[in-house]
Symmetry: C2
Subunit: 289 residues, 2 copies
């Protein structure tokens, strides 16, 4: 019990820039809309890390150090840690990020969604335990399932809106009064849920015209955009559809294409990750306007 | 790494009755539709447990031992463990349940929802790490976000349909072709997603007429029904609306009203939990028909 009590005391006294401002500052400082996703799959680790008890931390730390100067955010995907009972390594990664790169926001990709009393617990998990700046959440249970995250005034809640997976249309494209459901979600978040300016939305890159429709609804709200890189979304179409008037407002995520970039040759996995991260950041910047 | 590899080897060789049959057998053996929810809130623990490092396990074990003969399922809510970095205690609780009460299904209440590759990791978390018989999942990202759980042929996926919280209507009651969204979800799960007979649905107790509508759509599919007890749903209306023709097909959940039943007098918290669990089971049974 002592361990998390200490962590709680620390996080409550820690001064914080709010998520939206921190994201804008990192975007500007690194001239980047690239979010580096941390989805550590031990089966894809280099041979030298196989079987080591801290392999996940070591791998992610090397990726972070190689790409920090190129990223506007880091996005650890908690499922990869939870499957392996490696939450302690996720905590270490988040601690390392906050200590070493305190200007880069941590977006915990957890897609939580539950009633208020339970959401309070998930908010503690994301913001207190892991010290994340923002967390992804699911809108299906409505406003009171998202509100507890926004009680943390300096943090962000990034709501699932339109996802890039094949089944994304099953619900999100249902016709509600002549408009697809995901656009209602975008409007509801922008007009009702985002009371303190803490919200973002997840909108996949695979449907640029839908990204443009969401941008049109939500003004300058930050969009977390998965689906480029390994998932195949087109960078030019994605940036042109999703950018704000000032050429920002996006966290364009790439995970696997960066983490597992090493193929042949003499570069190591971190060097390969840095190379692909730089190429991706620069490709994005070509189309920011 | 050794620790989880051992757990994986164990769970893959362990013989399993499938979730639906296991639930039906426990319902019959204990003459019960009562699901005991494990939402351990350390602030509400008895004085004798305060500050102990294994307080959550000790508390839940006592509740389990006191109520096992009265329950058709146990439902640990993972958020309460995750907020306190107590996943190890959740693992111990699930291990204890499987070893001591192997005939009672464990429903991990996690409400996960993510794309396929990530959902595979969440399925490993629920079924391999915790050894759960079923897990609650969110439908917003569509079929391919739920399918990976069903690759575990002996386990169950219980899909959020209609929830009992105030914001539940924000999305779930949206009008799609003259029918509220949650009824489309019920029909989609029953007719398309439930290919191997592994699905259930979450339907809150606070709207009995909606519970009846879902029952009418889904046949004998098991329904997980939160919202009685501390949340105030009416038992008679709930059971009459949600029961199958044979008077079953429901896991009617009560968490806080059982866990924190002790008020005054000489009984301890486990005795109080047993008393309220028995009263609740018996009240439910009055209306099974």
């Amino acid at each position: 019990m002592t361990r998390y009590n200490v962590a709680i005391a620390f996080s409550q006294t820690e001064p914080r820039v709010n998520f939206i401002d921190k994201l804008a500052a990192a975007t500007s400082r690194h001239d980047s809309l690239l979010c580096v996703g941390l989805d550590p799959d031990a089966a894809k680790f280099p041979a030298g890390l196989q079987g080591k008890s801290d392999a996940i931390f070591t791998f992610c730390k090397a990726i972070i150090d190689a790409t920090a100067g190129l990223a506007c955010a880091f996005k650890p995907q908690i499922a990869y840690f939870a499957a392996l009972a490696a939450e302690d390594q996720l905590q270490s990664i988040c601690d390392y990020l906050r200590q070493t790169y305190p200007h880069i926001p941590i977006v915990l990709d957890a897609k939580r969604g539950d009633i208020g009393a339970t959401a309070e617990q998930y908010a503690r998990e994301a913001f207190e335990r892991y010290g994340a700046d923002a967390v992804t959440v699911n809108p299906y249970m409505g406003f009171d399932s998202v509100a507890p995250y926004m009680e943390w005034k300096d943090r962000g809640a990034i709501v699932l809106c339109r996802t890039s997976n094949p089944g994304g249309s099953d619900l999100q494209f249902m016709n509600v009064d002549g408009v697809p459901l995901y656009q209602h979600v975008a409007r509801m978040v922008a007009e009702k849920w985002n009371r303190n300016g803490q919200c973002g939305l997840v909108v996949g890159a695979t449907f640029p015209q839908e990204l443009a429709a969401v941008r049109n609804i939500v003004g300058d709200m930050p969009l977390l955009v998965p689906g480029i890189g390994a998932q195949g979304g087109d960078i030019q179409a994605t940036v042109r559809a999703g950018r704000t008037a000032s050429g920002g407002g996006m966290m364009i995520n790439s995970s696997r294409a960066i983490l597992y970039a090493k193929t042949m040759g003499e570069e190591n996995y971190a060097q390969a990750a840095q190379r692909v991260a730089r190429e991706t950041r620069d490709a994005i910047n070509l189309y920011r306007g």
